[in-house]
């Protein structure tokens, strides 16, 4: 088992070097423009903060499952999460534009 594990590890060495090599167009920005015909615009800060809030809300939702009077807690948490996501979606002004 250990021999097989070590063998697999050794086999993955060239893969590491290959991925590092293939990262060059991404890193230098060469591939950034040439293949894209459309992109999406949005508010960076709105998305960021609502992502964080949504993660917190998700934690609250999970925590609410372990409390007494579960249905009430879960309903409140779920509704708040939905409200947060809707407000986040609206304020982030997501819009697709075409690069012509």
């Amino acid at each position: 088992m250990e021999l097989a594990r070590n063998f697999l590890v050794l086999l993955s060495i060239p893969l590491w070097i290959l991925f590092a090599w293939l990262a060059k167009p991404l890193v230098t920005g060469v591939e950034g423009l040439t293949t894209w015909t459309e992109t999406t615009i949005s508010s960076k800060n709105a998305l960021f903060f609502f992502n964080i809030i949504a993660v917190g809300m998700l934690g609250g939702f999970i925590a609410s499952r372990y409390r007494n009077r579960k249905p009430i807690y879960i309903t409140i948490q779920a509704l708040t999460l939905v409200a947060v996501l809707i407000v986040g979606y609206v304020t982030s002004q997501i819009n697709t534009i075409w690069l012509t």
């Binding site: 590491w16 070097i17 590092a20 990262a23 890193v27 950034g32 423009l33 615009i41 934690g59």
Partner: protein
């Protein structure tokens, strides 16, 4: 014991010195379009003229540090002088990673990563952002929690990604049922943001004016490419995002991911803050940012490198260290500015072309992602030369204001007149570029510029209604 501590510090210092030398040898001496350095000219404006920066969210600490540094030292060009700080921050991070882990693998993984190298050799804020996160983490594991939260707060004064470090620590404290009061220290940084209104003055390049609504627009303005990579938006992009993920993590951490997996499998709860600080920026990149924003994953490299050293598999660590050394040599051949990349200094050539334009020219930048580099360079040129080259670009429709030295061009009609008059006077130009790694300025006609923007379907459908509301 004393000897060990002494040795550790000496080794950390040596790592710092060698990393700094490596970055300085490969760094970009002047402006560059490469390595996603589109904010470089903007950061030079903020360092030199103390103007407002990009809303991420304002980066006051970064701008103030640059301004002080620039007034104290000089290393070749002005750009090069400030850009060297990226190398210094990255080298400090490498030394700090050794101090935290007492294992050579962590700094080697950091230094050998191409995405780390790319941000350490240009004028950008991501190495300082990562340094603040690693410093905050260092204070946290030394049980100085108030200091840790305060440092992460200072990190937000560099870039909002540091807020993810705050989330990581508070989740850990919550799960371990520790007091959350130290987290309040995070908010002590708020007074530093007074920098934004203090530096917001005409010509209002970044913020359209000085009203509260202008600040709201500044913080919540849209930018191209963000959310462009969300796997479900568009749905067919999921393979592209997975490929980005493989290159960022597989190319940056490679085999050491096995060590990370084994560490976490062994005791995930003990390593929760490290894991979250590493994974949250990666999740942000994959779900929210576009592929070119790979630099948001710098903390991923740093924190997963820490985790890789925590598992006791000595032979694999040695193998990883040897490969990292090989990758460092490979990087020297692949990423050396002036030799391997940016031989023609295309960004410097673009800046020189700006100086040949007549005063009051109108320049249409390409309708493309990353056109902000052209915009930022033109604003820098305007500030340096007290010139007034007007920019027409995609942001023209989103912010629709704060363009030109008078800062009053908020109406569509004023812009249409200006574009048409510029054509009559031979002052209408556009950027001709196959990719944003080049930029040639050529004469343009008002029809092609207006067709591209005001008369385009995109403008009519998405922006026209909004801007008509603003104008009225």
């Amino acid at each position: 014991m004393l000897y060990t501590q002494y040795t550790t510090k000496i080794v950390a210092l040596a790592i710092f010195g060698l990393a700094l030398l490596y970055y300085i040898l490969l760094r970009s001496p002047d402006h560059t379009f490469f390595n996603m350095g589109e904010d470089g000219p903007l950061f030079l404006q903020t360092a030199k003229h103390l103007v407002t920066g990009a809303p991420s969210p304002g980066s006051p600490l970064f701008h103030i540090t640059n301004a002080v540094w620039m007034r104290m030292f000089s290393f070749g060009t002005e750009y090069g002088t400030v850009a060297i700080l990226s190398a210094v921050y990255s080298a400090i991070t490498a030394g700090l990673l050794y101090l935290i882990t007492r294992n050579i693998l962590a700094p080697l993984l950091w230094i050998s990563s191409a995405i780390v190298l790319s941000q350490s050799t240009i004028l950008e804020l991501y190495t300082l952002m990562t340094l603040m996160m690693v410093l905050g983490y260092y204070a946290y594991i030394k049980d100085k929690r108030v200091l840790a939260y305060f440092i992460l707060g200072l990190g937000v004064a560099v870039h909002h990604i540091c807020g993810l470090g705050f989330v990581a620590l508070i989740v850990t404290d919550f799960i371990n049922k520790r007091s959350l009061k130290p987290a309040l220290a995070f908010f002590l940084v708020i007074p530093l943001f007074i920098y934004i209104p203090l530096t917001n003055r005409p010509p209002y390049y970044m913020i359209g004016g000085n009203l509260p609504v202008d600040y709201i627009k500044y913080f919540f303005q849209t930018a191209a490419g963000l959310a462009g990579g969300l796997p479900l938006w568009p749905a067919d992009n999921i393979y592209g995002r997975l490929w980005d993920l493989v290159r960022v993590t597989g190319g940056g951490l490679g085999l050491s991911l096995v060590l990370v997996y084994l560490t976490v499998k062994n005791n995930w709860k003990e390593h929760l803050p490290t894991l979250l600080m590493g994974l949250l920026p990666l999740m942000y990149y994959i779900t929210t940012s576009d592929s070119k924003s790979y630099f948001t994953t710098l903390p991923t490299i740093a924190f997963l490198a820490i985790l890789a050293t925590k598992y006791d598999w000595r032979s694999l660590k040695i193998v990883c260290s040897i490969i990292c050394s090989g990758l460092i040599i490979m990087n020297i051949f692949l990423y050396d500015f002036g030799r391997a990349i940016d031989k023609d200094q295309s960004a410097v050539q673009f800046y020189n072309q700006l100086e040949e334009l007549p005063p009051g020219s109108v320049l249409e930048t390409c309708w493309c992602i990353s056109n902000s580099i052209y915009v930022n360079m033109t604003y820098l040129h305007n500030l340096e030369n007290e010139d007034d080259i007007y920019i027409v670009d995609t942001e023209f429709f989103r912010m629709f204001g704060g363009r030109g030295l008078d800062g009053k061009l908020t109406s569509k009609d004023i812009w249409v007149d200006r574009i048409e008059n510029a054509e009559k006077e031979g002052k209408l130009f556009r950027v001709k570029a196959e990719s944003f790694l080049e930029g040639n300025i050529v004469p343009a006609s008002s029809k092609e510029v207006l067709d591209k923007y005001v008369n385009s379907d995109f403008y009519k459908d998405s922006i026209g209604e909004y801007n008509n509301g603003i104008s009225s």
